[in-house]
Symmetry: C2
Subunit: 108 residues, 2 copies
Amino acid sequence: MGATKTEHFTGNQNAIAMLTKALGHPARIAIMEYLMSVDTCICGDIVNELPLAQPTVSQHLRELKNAGLIKGNIEGNTICYCVDEKSIEKLITYFTKITTKLKSKSCC
Amino acid sequence: MGATKTEHFTGNQNAIAMLTKALGHPARIAIMEYLMSVDTCICGDIVNELPLAQPTVSQHLRELKNAGLIKGNIEGNTICYCVDEKSIEKLITYFTKITTKLKSKSCC
DNA sequence: AATATTTATCGTAATATTGCAATATAATAA
DNA sequence: TTATTATATTGCAATATTACGATAAATATT
């Protein structure tokens, strides 16, 4: 044991969990915030913004990319990163649906 | 190493990461969905809804509770669980702020 | 009181994550 | 060509997570 039993859950449940899991680390939240703190793509420069070693940042970037939360374009010597809006929209839609249901509840 | 370096990040970054991390497992997403699938608190009955052993479900419930995503009231023999709306609101507010910023971007 | 029911905790094995030094890769600059 | 710069990959140690059997704790039922 030790591995998540994804096969017992729906595709949507696994998809949402994949997104939230990728966001479930302060460094990755910090990366997302940094990517959105300017009006353009960020080319290079991400490693210097974080209090972590370069291989660690690279690993976090890969996880965000695998989850579909960010996109990365090779631009010569550096890589330009930016947020993939679709994934964030998906999360907002999901959570909004949740709270819409909650409004009609009266409990606890 | 192996432990997250929370001390290097802001309180808000850690707070959001704590919520998303707690949601980062399909079983916990399934629990949240189940809790919201009815109009009242769910007293007992959560274990039977999931394809996991009782101690495992109990562990997932504790994680959701520690993160502040659900509330649990002891009701005699059973425990009544429901979603803590405030935590979900916090996430929606956060992600909405993110997309508002993204709208003004033109990149990638 | 004895038993059943519900949930939590303990202990532990399997697996995953986090972090970084060392090294590799690839493009640019000298 | 030989640095230099930017990012990725490898390997590994420390730690965390996932899952569950066994057991405990607490209330309910008989």
